[in-house]
Symmetry: D3
Subunit: 247 residues, 6 copies
């Protein structure tokens, strides 16, 4: 099985870090390739950077789209570009936040989210609402360092993150998602400090991607995720233009 | 890895059939044990049978609870007893319907459900509503034969089921869940007759169970799914009484 | 008029206590019979005990179903087995929690619930949500003693319960439900210590049962509460098997 | 027990008709007084007439408020003035539509409403939504004759109303409310032509009023239904001015 | 352009004050006429006064309805009578609260409301819920002085109002509405003391009224806001009777 | 007053057309400048093109951001990039779809949307849901020609669009929005063929932009729309990089 992991943040070292965590999780024989955003913020933590990252995710995907992957993992917690990718791709696309909250929702009643970067708070509330799961969201806890900051110094943030997870549990979360590409792999590290299960968003996304890739579900030929009609465009990379405009 | 599959329907041949499908799906080395409800309806297709099946699921689990499973799969689409099991078990419990709708929800915007037995229609609408996902449910299509009927003659129902899946797609489903233990394995068989991805509920549940078992998330020590306080009881099996009353 | 009061808790003294309170409330000439759960927890205060109690409620009903009651009152706040009973019974079935919240909802805008047993908190939030009334629920206050504990020592809990009712009023409840079979009759006793109307759940359920029994509404012959199709079963009491399997 | 029935429609014969039906339903010893709106539409069937009727309901109540009733029944399906009455009255106020939908909601999952006057359709959808019960509303069926028309010729409308009830059942209603003061008493008359229980709104309201009056719940001394602060006013009847302005 | 401003509070000086503020805002050439409620509370701050004000708004409008206005502005924050006016009027009717929350909703994600009079708190929560915007309402802050009190001493309340706006911002409001006819024009005065945009409800309503009047949208000829059927009535002013009863 | 109109579609003639319509609507003295997307689809009608257009909207804005506009109008019905723009801009940003649905919502109870391009159907349902207004959306009607097609031949589409508006009215819309930059100015042209008010999305957006610009509301200094922290970036235009990365 061959999976493409897209990091729409423009920090290549973060892509490598997430890939490293992912490779420890996948089944033997599963190959993982990575793609990093070619334009936009080093780490997405605002609404404007998010908007740019959605385009960057499509752009990064288009560069690799010929390589016959079995599924795509969008590795930015908040999932910029997810809907567009699902329209263009012929294989399933799993969003890191989407997979995490669905997994959390299938393990209990209410869940919490802990992530880096204060600006993500309202954005994640809106994200969960867009999935219809607001009533099941017990708490969003943000810590001041962004995912980018945490990726540079994971040890330094662990106490802070564990404490935020405990707060989410106190506010009624049956499970807590530790969300963010920059936090990849920290879930297991803090698990024993938190009184409810902690879901690492990278692990959730990787496992869900493997699961849906295995199922070989095929592409819709009708409806909102069928291949889109081609439309003229300007100013896009040749690779992306091929998928938007058909040449 | 060792998984327990509980079929709260009281038809042992159905348990065997679901186990057979599940064994084809799991990773090498994963062991699967089965447990069948010891009392209640041969196949759950009404509200009264559902209420009994919830007790039967707990009872069946308790018989096997000493065997150190890594996760439990509740193999009845509609998930009778899921909340109670989650309270009692120290490992994750995955419901067949719960896992299927979460997987469907993470693959598109709106999903449909096709199942056997007309009485399931309102019950599944309520089930999806209890998850907060009503706005994402495009269609529930029931066919007259129950899951029990279909399990006895899968070939005879395939055209009917494929047609119901196509109707769900026409009503706006981006993916369709073929739901029911009795329909285990039929998803792949009708996939090419349906214009959107078809999720087999057994496959979805098995893959989700493997994924959560791998994550070794641990048991909550606080909150609504922490181990419950013991309370005196009467009339239960000795195995179940141990978990309700502590002896 | 003849009413059947089912207590799915397996404590017969509690059934007697609730019957005694109910008999003081009903119109002259109304007869009340009681049935106690024959298996399960002495007092339902967890999700697992709740699942068993739903079966126990059906089982207890089936033992008395031949006696031509005009309505059934399910006397456990949380209403385990309510949907199944409504399917099987040819007369109206009133749930103690369901009746209480509907009555509260028809007296003001927002209501609160006070009950015994901390584990009931999330379960009651989910119960109210399943009725669509979450936005009208101002507060759920649980006290540590369970309904079973309170039934054994009502005087000792009254100050605690009155205080919890006042807290609910402070949190915006226009009326407060004192919920639980074990708390039967305590509503009037604490009413003068609470600044908003206090609804005793036993009283609400009894009065609502009388009201619907008087209306002689008849049984649906179509839809989700019509008599269910018979299906083979095993391991049920002969009385219940008759209603599930037709013999 | 002494109950006040307010008909904010300005048709006194309708008040008499509803009183006659109500008197057949109440317990021996229960007294019923009636009050008819002194200004506004003969029969409320539009948004503008509804707005006027709310004032008329308060005005009619104020004329009788000194008479020490145990509860008030607002006998116009749609309940104009209900919130204002609840603020002013020291005894419970039951709305005809409110009581009916709460009773219907406590008897099944989904309900339908049948009433006279096409303009009521959207208004009743909004009414049910304001109670949080939209997801439980299976159908609103209006017939062209208004409640006023039907009250003048009940026999002539019965086939039409029975057919509308059947349509509501086909659309998924587990119970159907026959709503409208002008339709008082028609519920039992068409019950045997409809495959699900039919709730007569007058009967529902009368029984609910008796039930809450019996409970002697008292008046809130805090919150949104406590007695309001007095405020200067002009142009009101002396009786109403006393309750708004304290003289 | 010619606009009618209806103040259903019965305080003529307040009408003059709102008109004075409105006249400073409208485009050159726009004429503004005012109408004051002829019966009811001096200032609406309770549910009972609100019910009366709805009738008073229709009554006041009918007195001026022959004057060919291009739009109507209902100048009481809470909008009593809005639906009835929309039914009767052939030109658009803009409610002060309705316009303010729509404007706030189109400027950010979540908004807050600050107003005078504690009784308005739950009423405004219900108002926003009736618009479907509860999830976007971050906070309602009431101050003890009513709008009537504030109108008599605006300077004395400004610190109190500014503080309440800051609290709303702390509770997550992206914009804050300063609501109430009695607070007309105070928005700009406190704007620099509040860290998020402050919407003056009078200004919002005036601008929205001008905008919709300009669009010359016409009157619906079908549906719930088409001209209503005439129905006999009693006790109304001759002007209003003409619109309810056609003479 | 000076307004910036951003057309994130990459068709400059469409920008000119919308500007021409807008200039006929604004008050004397109001200046309008236009900006066209520099990369992406000629006309946005798919999810992938939408994602790119959000970035293009930010990019186009940044090119003009130094010019001290009083407000920004995002002229693509569906509003790609709206949240990001609101974060970056110090003046109000009005989205064409957002303004239209808020205006429609303030004119009646339920509204419909008619637009060009079948792919917009589910996208607009999701857009309205993200505003909390799903219960007020009576109908979305798409016609096969996209907005781009219609802009090239407005006369040829008018019968089709009028018919779609009538269908929306039949499905319960009290007002209908004719949505899409490419349909600018068609609203008034078909108004007399439709039995309910027709809102032209360009007109709604222009009038709302003028209204909010006049109010001079200021920029939030706290919360989700305060100026974002600067973060390193790559590959952006120098103008946009300045606003994302601070140089």
């Amino acid at each position: 099985m061959k999976l493409l992991l897209i990091n729409p943040n423009t920090t290549a070292t973060m892509t490598e870090m997430v890939l490293a965590v992912a490779r420890r999780l996948v089944a033997p024989g599963t190959e993982l390739a990575g793609a990093t955003g070619r334009f936009g913020a080093a780490y997405v933590a605002t609404r404007s950077a998010y908007a740019i990252a959605a385009h960057a995710a499509l752009d990064a995907w288009a560069e690799h789209a010929d390589d016959n992957f079995d599924a795509v993992l969008l590795a930015c917690f908040g999932d910029p570009g997810l809907d567009g990718l699902r329209e263009l791709c012929t294989v399933p696309v799993v969003g890191m936040a989407d997979a995490s909250i669905q997994l959390a929702a299938s393990l209990g009643k209410r869940f919490g989210i802990v992530t880096g970067g204060d600006r993500w708070g309202p954005m994640l509330h809106e994200f969960v609402a867009s999935r219809g799961l607001s009533d099941r969201l017990a708490s969003v806890q943000t810590v001041a360092p962004t995912g980018g900051d945490i990726a540079r110094d994971p040890q330094g943030s662990m106490a802070l993150l564990a404490k935020a997870c405990c707060t989410a549990a106190e506010e009624g979360a049956d499970t807590v998602i530790l969300g963010g590409a920059g936090l990849a792999g920290l879930g297991p590290a803090i698990r024993n400090q938190v009184p409810v299960p902690v879901i690492d968003s990278t692990e959730a996304a990787v496992r869900m991607t493997e699961a849906v890739a295995s199922a070989r579900l095929g592409k819709a030929t009708v409806g909102t995720f069928a291949a889109p009609p081609m439309v003229p465009s300007i100013g896009l990379s040749p690779a992306l233009a091929k998928y938007i405009s058909g040449l």
